[in-house]
């Protein structure tokens, strides 16, 4: 069997505002749009993904937060209603998705063999988190590929950002082993914002773009620093400074997603494709992709 591989890695932020602004039939609330810079970037990345040959999308989400190890979705199908606990006014989404349980179990096994605490999630009543749904919807609105969701083990809370970084990297390396063994072509998705300080009030019309801006300038400067390093292909350096960046900007990288994905991709030294950056309720969000294939890699922005 041919060795499996990661064919694309995506940094895919999950503010539910983006799905709300798209007005898909699955989401109940209606919007007048908003956050176009991010959405149009996402739309372009989704078009690229249509040309990528892949079998499964593996997503690491901060909104399935686990404190006892890393958990993997372990049933072939989930269908229900996802209501965002923070922004229920804009996200009430009916989902129906398929899971690649075979690969999930391989990842679970590989991670366990690497000494990582793991658990398969096999409760059929389990509700899929809105981070998974938002990122997957924006990348593949047709939902025509199976997914695997990996929970975020919150080592940053129990130990430190440094421990989180190391454990997330170990998980990424273990997942890569499972992918290679499976023979499958995999898209990795790290679902999160960059800087993550929110406004604690919301305008009466959430999509009123006259009210949208980054929470403060230091968050913006840090985000730009990270994006420049991504653009320059310095992902080892990005992961090295991840604990400090996370602490300074309360970044959602604290869940470990980007460290996991970069480790699984061998810490890319080639330029990332930048699709867009914009704030959502004060947080900094970038849509970014890493394409290992130099023939299809683009300079997008």
């Amino acid at each position: 069997m041919k060795k499996g591989q990661v064919v694309l890695g995506c940094l895919a932020p999950h503010p539910p505002h983006l799905v709300y602004a798209e007005n898909p039939e699955q989401n109940e609330p209606f919007s007048e749009g908003g956050w176009e810079t991010l959405r149009w970037g996402y739309n372009r990345l989704a078009r690229k993904l249509k040309k990528v040959d892949y079998d499964v999308m593996v997503i690491f989400t901060p909104h399935w937060a686990t404190y006892i190890g890393t958990h993997f979705l372990g049933l072939p199908k989930f269908s229900s209603l996802s209501v965002d606990p923070i922004f229920p006014n804009i996200f009430r989404y009916k989902y129906d998705l398929d899971v690649d349980v075979e690969l999930a179990e391989e990842m679970h096994k590989a991670a366990s063999e690497a000494g990582i605490i793991t658990k398969m999630m096999t409760n059929p009543d389990f509700r899929i988190d809105y981070g998974t749904i938002t990122s997957c919807h924006m990348l593949n609105p047709e939902w025509d590929k199976p997914i695997i969701t990996i929970s975020s083990n919150r080592n940053a809370h129990y130990y430190s950002g440094e421990v989180m970084n190391e454990q997330a990297k170990a998980l990424g390396e273990a997942c890569l082993k499972a992918i290679e063994k499976s023979g499958k072509k995999v898209v990795l998705v790290s679902s999160h914002s960059l800087s993550h300080r929110h406004f604690v009030t919301e305008s009466p019309l959430p999509e009123d773009m006259s009210r949208e801006h980054i929470y403060n300038h230091s968050q913006y400067v840090w985000d730009m620093k990270m994006i420049k390093m991504m653009r320059d292909g310095k992902m080892k350096e990005v992961i090295d400074i991840m604990p400090e960046y996370t602490e300074q900007t309360i970044a959602e990288t604290e869940a470990g997603g980007l460290s996991w994905m970069m480790a699984a991709m061998g810490l890319p030294d080639y330029p990332a494709e930048i699709y867009g950056y914009q704030s959502v309720i004060g947080t900094g969000n970038a849509v970014v992709a890493w394409d290992p294939n130099s023939k299809t890699r683009e300079i997008v922005l």
């Binding site: 399935w64 937060a65 686990t66 404190y67 006892i68 190890g69 958990h71 209603l81 209501v83 606990p85 923070i86 922004f87 229920p88 006014n89 009430r92 605490i117 658990k119 999630m121 096999t122 409760n123 009543d125 389990f126 509700r127 929970s151 083990n153 919150r154 080592n155 809370h157 129990y158 929110h198 406004f199 604690v200 009030t201 919301e202 309720i281």
Partner: protein, 308 residues
Amino acid sequence: MDNDQNVLFGIYCPPHPHPLLAPELNDGYKNLRNAYDNLRDKIQASGADIILIYSTTWPSIVGHQIQAHPEPEWTHVDDDFHYLGSMPYKFNIDTEFADAYRDAAESRGLHSRTVAYDGFPIDTGSVVALSLLNPDNNIPACIVSSNMYSNRSETMVLGKAARDALSNQGKKAVVVVVASLSNRMFTEHINPRDDKIHSPKDDEWNKKILEFFRDGRLEDLSQLSRDIHGQIRIQKVAAYKPVWWMAATMGQHNNYHGEVLAYEPLHGSGGAVIQLTPSNESIGDKEFDEDDVEYYHGDRNVLDRGNL
């Protein structure tokens, strides 16, 4: 009604699902379950008009959210303990109180809103508490979130707003705070029979806190909250807020009769079921350092204002 009479008693209880889903796995879980059952009977006999819950496992960002769906119904599954089983629920929510609480919070400068959506994910802590304390929905309930950015003054004002709403509506409440004591769990899966408090340090602090609860010293605990946060709380949020809210809602003093019904480990964390009943048995009030805030003015924007 004098609002000192609006709170019949307060309960402090843990958010973990073990006492609801698997009390048979460990004698400690069973003890916790028995304590819940004991309080269930006390609540049902209390003449309470409402059970008001502040849950640390319902984080909010946009201000303070208050559950206002008249009959929220779902089958909940915990993110970590999904293997213990599902938690089907259907609750009876006092929507008039929810609206009044929102209005009272806004009157004190807080950003607040009610939520009333089919399928809204009610958190594990609230589901456990309401399922065990009010299984037949005989008494209407209300649930308020814990804003992840809020600190002392905002949380105190939120508690005072709860008193305002109870007073304005003339309702008698049982106040329920859902929170662990020490909240460090084991980071690996354990045999429930081997469950214990994560460390002697956590255990000693928990026992000191329980001593305060037994003596009815809720306001003293409120003043110690920042120390407790630094010593035995993992740094998920800015502060250990539940005793601030509980003290502000119950009157900011030390005049309570305290009873610790159970104290047991829950996957390493400190789970206690405690009852605090207003009384005249004060251990004495003290003068404290921090302001007693009545109205929330928002962030002070110290950086923007410079030396002004």
